[in-house]
């Protein structure tokens, strides 16, 4: 019998609510579900919310009765905020979060590199915002709870998974015993240790690094701005690296690498942590400032992924699908992109709007994204925590040179998480004008946001359906295009038309954006009326044309929804 703890988790700044478990005896007999999601972290909840947005119901199972312990993921990228905006929680993230855009690297007391993340007037969100994970989970849960299509079950632990002929069957343990649940699709969003991945005996591919980092959250009042701080080879921790981040509610994250040979158990002894945190505070000139420990954990860098995320009727997503290093804020930020992708791909398959190839495309695209991240994160990891004598020697040489030689300083760049561009996606239109554009988001790229007025941006209006951006100054969308749009909608495919460039509402468009100064057209590389962009429901570009006609639009839609 599964007995999750009913004691609220300890925290200085977050008051944990303990939810009631979902019990089978209090509910009717269980019918087969279209989607069951195991796990209620960022990947699980965003998948549920995206599916709901496409009209697909899901059951979310979580073994716990409360949100996860500790701050865990704290840095969320602009693209993550754009995805969270899609599921309705971006405002709450913004409300309490700490936005930032500068990162600093220090060696021997000198700031040897300062990174400035690009921030454009067309961007609604900052490059990064710091919010503790419990808050993010609370916001996502509130959105799930508000959806009639999401059946959220606290205290429900998956104990067994069986692949049946065309569906999955899970055994679920609850505080009053087990029940069986069948699903067309089981989404394994059950975290880095994924019991479902273990049960199906699936192997991750890639590398594990040996260096351990302690992650400690302390409550302390430090008069420093919200910027990333990285210290290399400090006197109190020779050869190793320390990271610091400001979090909301007077909390600071201190991550420090352990000397070789020290075990995580030794490192987590309160005396050991106290000594090291005090040494770090002394080094940055704040010796003696009182602080209180909130939460700590130990971490080691891994760059691993499953080579395929779809196995029978089980789909892996988030940390269950891959393990990525913290350097470059890639865990939750990648999970959001996974979930956003999975949501529409799976919904369109379930609704019969495309064939199984669409789900295979999800896997191909996201495995490709994970491999790209692994390649980049591997570089960051080999610099932050060199895995061998050669890498250590090179890193030390770069540190030493960086005091006087500018050319090595960009090596401090930690390659922050960025959205993957699905440039080679099978959903991209082959017969369009992608290659002829000189500007604007290309095949597979997320859209460039555009500031329309003080508090109004393009991405506030896009997503959840295919979006056709049609650039025109005419009074109406051309009849043949309107006919394709109407026929597409008749097949149940959500497609919205946004006209850009006309002063008055354009007939046949769901929305008209005036673009009086031509700024929008300029950023999208559009020189003349009649151009268009087709965006997938996850907003990524799948076709763009300098001149769009009905045949080309139809061809692009056919390609984007393989049967």
């Amino acid at each position: 019998m599964h007995q999750p703890t009913t004691d609220p988790r300890p925290s200085i700044y977050y008051s944990y609510k303990v939810f009631q478990p979902w019990l089978p005896s209090a509910n009717p007999a269980q019918q087969k579900q279209p989607v069951v999601i195991a796990g209620s972290g960022p990947a699980g909840m965003v998948t549920a919310l995206e599916l709901a947005r496409h009209g697909v119901a899901s059951v979310v199972l979580t073994p716990e009765l409360q949100f996860s312990q500790g701050s865990r993921a704290i840095c969320f990228t602009r693209r993550s905020m754009e995805i969270l905006q899609q599921v309705g929680v971006a405002d709450r993230m913004t409300e309490g979060g700490l936005p930032w855009r500068f990162g600093n690297s220090f060696y021997r007391g000198q700031r040897v590199f300062r990174m400035e993340a690009p921030h454009d007037a067309d961007d609604r969100f900052f490059p990064i915002i710091n919010v503790q994970q419990q808050f993010m989970e609370e916001y996502l849960f509130d959105a799930c709870a508000a959806s009639p299509l999401i059946d959220f079950r606290w205290g429900n632990k998956v104990t067994q998974v069986t692949q049946k002929n065309g569906f999955a069957e899970v055994q679920v343990d609850t505080p009053e015993g087990e029940y069986t649940l069948q699903a067309d699709w089981l989404v394994a969003a059950d975290g880095g240790r994924s019991p479902i991945r273990t049960a199906l005996d699936l192997k991750l591919e890639g590398a594990s690094y040996e260096g351990f980092f302690v992650i400690a959250d302390i409550k302390i009042d430090l008069p420093l701005p919200t910027e990333r701080l990285a210290y290399f080879d400090p006197e109190w921790n020779p050869g190793n690296t320390i990271l610091m981040h400001r979090e909301p509610h007077g909390i600071w994250r201190v991550d420090y690498q352990l000397p070789e040979g020290e075990t995580p158990e030794e490192a987590l002894q309160p005396e050991s942590m106290k000594t090291r945190i005090n040494a770090q505070l002394k080094m940055i000139g704040h010796e003696g400032t009182p602080w209180q420990m909130d939460w700590s954990s130990v971490y080691s860098a891994r760059t691993l992924t499953l080579p395929d995320y779809v196995h029978g009727n089980v789909i892996f997503t988030g940390d269950a699908a891959h393990l990525l290093p913290i350097f470059g804020v890639r865990g939750a930020n990648t999970a959001f992109q996974d979930a956003q992708s999975l949501g529409w791909h799976l919904a369109f398959l379930l609704k019969g709007l495309a064939g199984p190839k669409l789900l295979a495309n999800h896997s191909t695209e996201r495995v490709g994204a994970a491999r790209e991240i692994i390649d980049e994160a591997g570089k960051s990891t080999r610099f932050m925590a060199p895995p061998s004598r050669g890498f250590r020697l090179l890193r030390d040489a770069v540190l030493s040179l960086s005091l006087s030689q500018a050319f090595v300083r960009p090596l401090y760049h930690w390659r922050t998480s960025r959205p993957h561009e699905y440039a080679g996606s099978m959903l991209n239109s082959a017969g369009d004008d992608n290659a002829l554009f000189r500007a604007g988001p290309a095949h597979g790229a997320p859209p460039q946001n555009i500031r329309l007025s003080a508090d109004d941006f393009l991405l506030d209006h896009l997503g959840g359906a295919f979006d056709l951006l049609y650039f025109t100054e005419a009074a109406a969308i051309p009849e043949p295009l309107q006919a394709v749009v109407a026929a597409t909608r008749q097949r149940g495919i959500p497609l919205r038309v946004v006209a850009v460039g006309a002063a008055h509402p354009v007939t046949g468009a769901d929305l008209t954006l005036a673009d009086a100064d031509g700024h929008f057209r300029h950023r999208y590389g559009v020189q003349a009326s009649g151009a268009g962009y087709l965006l997938r429901p996850d907003q990524h570009v799948c076709a763009r044309w300098l001149t769009l006609d009905a045949n080309r639009l139809q061809a692009a839609l056919n390609t984007a929804l393989p049967q």
């Binding site: 020697l393 090179l394 040489a397 030493s400 040179l401 050319f407 090595v408």
Partner: protein
């Protein structure tokens, strides 16, 4: 090596030889590797040719 026009003259090579040996003696055994790696990075940057740097690596790896 292909870039003969950049090669050192014999006196130049002899000067580099002496300077490098003297510097290695100066930094001492504990820091020799670090010093040499720094030097290699500086030279790689000055060379500005990743392929040629690869060739140098391969040449240096021979007959150790």
């Amino acid at each position: 090596m292909t870039a003969t026009h950049k090669a050192l003259s014999l006196p130049g090579l002899e000067t580099a030889y002496d300077a490098l040996a003297t510097a290695i003696d100066e930094v001492g055994a504990g820091k020799t590797e670090l010093f040499l790696v720094k030097l290699a990075l500086l030279n790689a940057n000055a060379l500005g040719d990743p392929e040629q740097f690869q060739q140098h690596l391969q040449a240096a790896l021979k007959d150790l």
